[in-house]
Amino acid sequence: MTTSRQLTRPKALAGLGLVGFVLLLGLVGPLLAPYGPLEQIEGANLVGPSPSHWLGTDEVNRDVLSRTLSGIRLDLLVVFVAVPVGAAIGVLTGLLTAWWNVADVLTQRIFDVVLAFPTLIFAIALSAFIGPGVWTIAIVIVALEIPVFGRLVRTSVRTVREMPYVEAAQVAGAGPLWVLRRHVLPNSLEPLTVQLAVSMSVAVFIEAAMSFLGIGVQAPNPSLGSLIKDGTTLMYDAPFLALGPLALVLVLVLGLLLISQSLSEAHRD
């Protein structure tokens, strides 16, 4: 209820608009794309932006606009699937361990250890383990979000369980499941949504950084990160290559940031 109200603030609306724009492009864009994302067009080697190729063509003669539109989908997958999956697992573990003290200390230590690795180093190590690729990105993000959300939920469980209304329910005879479902989860929702938006923007970064380091999406498939990387390796010869995908990353991250900021501002007020 309050969340939906917060989302109607102008700042949140702007954020939603930006994210929605990228979402729409990712869903509808590939249908409108002039070429296939992998299609190599004869003779169109590294052509600058022109009416026939709005964002130019790349080193192996592919239309960058078409690739960009198709590449958005992968980021959307990472943002709207991997993050929520990790978040869901994290929330569940957080609830279980914090409320029933099931292996609470052990879980916290594991979370500590996972969070102790800098994200990218963790990603590099993991990619050595399972090889580079889309799955690696997804697994890295899921593995990272589990402790992030697990901790968040743990903190909020500990806060909410001290609240008088929870005590009142407990005194009236409510069991733990009842309290979790009726009180703890609904009242943890606000910090969770803020974190969700933050995590989503971080996920875009992770995808881009991993692809930039060559351990993310692999050729010939496009993602925003791999397109930026392709563009930056030819920065002097074809500065136009990275512009489109870079702008989209900015728009996406900016949108998610605005949403999370307005959510947390509303939360604070």
Binding site: V113, L213, T232, L246, L250
Partner: protein, 319 residues
Amino acid sequence: MLSYLVRRIPSAVGVLFAASFLIFLMLRLIPGDPVDALAGQDATQESRDAIRADLGLDKPFWSQYVSWLGGLFRLDLGQSYRIGGDVGDLLRNGALNTVVLTVAALLIALVLALVTSLVAVIRDSRWLNAALNAVNTIGLALPTFASGLLLVLVFAVVFPLLPSGGTPPEGYLARPDISVQYLLLPAFCLALPVWAGLSRFLTEALRSQLRQPYITTARAAGVSRTRLVVRHALPNALPSAVTVLGIQVGTLLGGAVLVEQIFTWPGLGSLIELAISGRDYPVVQVLLLLSVAVFVVTQLLTDVLQAWLDPRIRIGGAR
């Protein structure tokens, strides 16, 4: 306060131990045998066995783990399989570069964050806030490699004012003036997101401190706004900012991998990539453990700093 610190040490050590075991185990689960990489095409089984024995890989897992841990306590980090040489020697140079880079970035981020958030809160003017907010958000939304390449393009290629990458040729101390120029771009690039995050947090923290009753008390006593912000609100906002900064150190190390690549800064970030792809276990496990240790120590330092900044923790609640 000392007991407060002492209480935290066992859990920190626990994390380190757990991490060391996890790292050791994970690396041995990675497909690929380092002996294959070392022995040539025509190597005989004997020479392969000799190499295996030479590396200690013929011993059982636990004994390998224990002997590695034992080595760590004696500061003997082992021998690199592929790159060659003592792991400690390999790391020393890279570690120096990475430390210089990250510390410089941390300082830049800290100073910039302090200055911008203090100015923003003291001035409290609408357009200044909007401008800082915009810069902030862009700093947060711009991927590190994008900002890095932009910096190279602008300051090293279009206007060749600063070196495009690399470390100072004569070391850091021989010519500090030159060193600063080499450090400026990569450190700033690394500092940018940290600065943005920190200054955003600090501005908010200062603003929320300014809403506290004790500020009203001081204001009612006629203390000027600048003093209110700098002398009253800031010391109260710092402890939580220190926590945020502690978390950012992790971000900084991760970012260092990217920045080192962009600015060809020969630090641990590039070494770890090389070592992982070459299955150079002794190097990889030390590097991974090092990054965990940095994190753990940062957490401890954060706690100590926080206690030092906050008398409620330092002196305790005794009346």
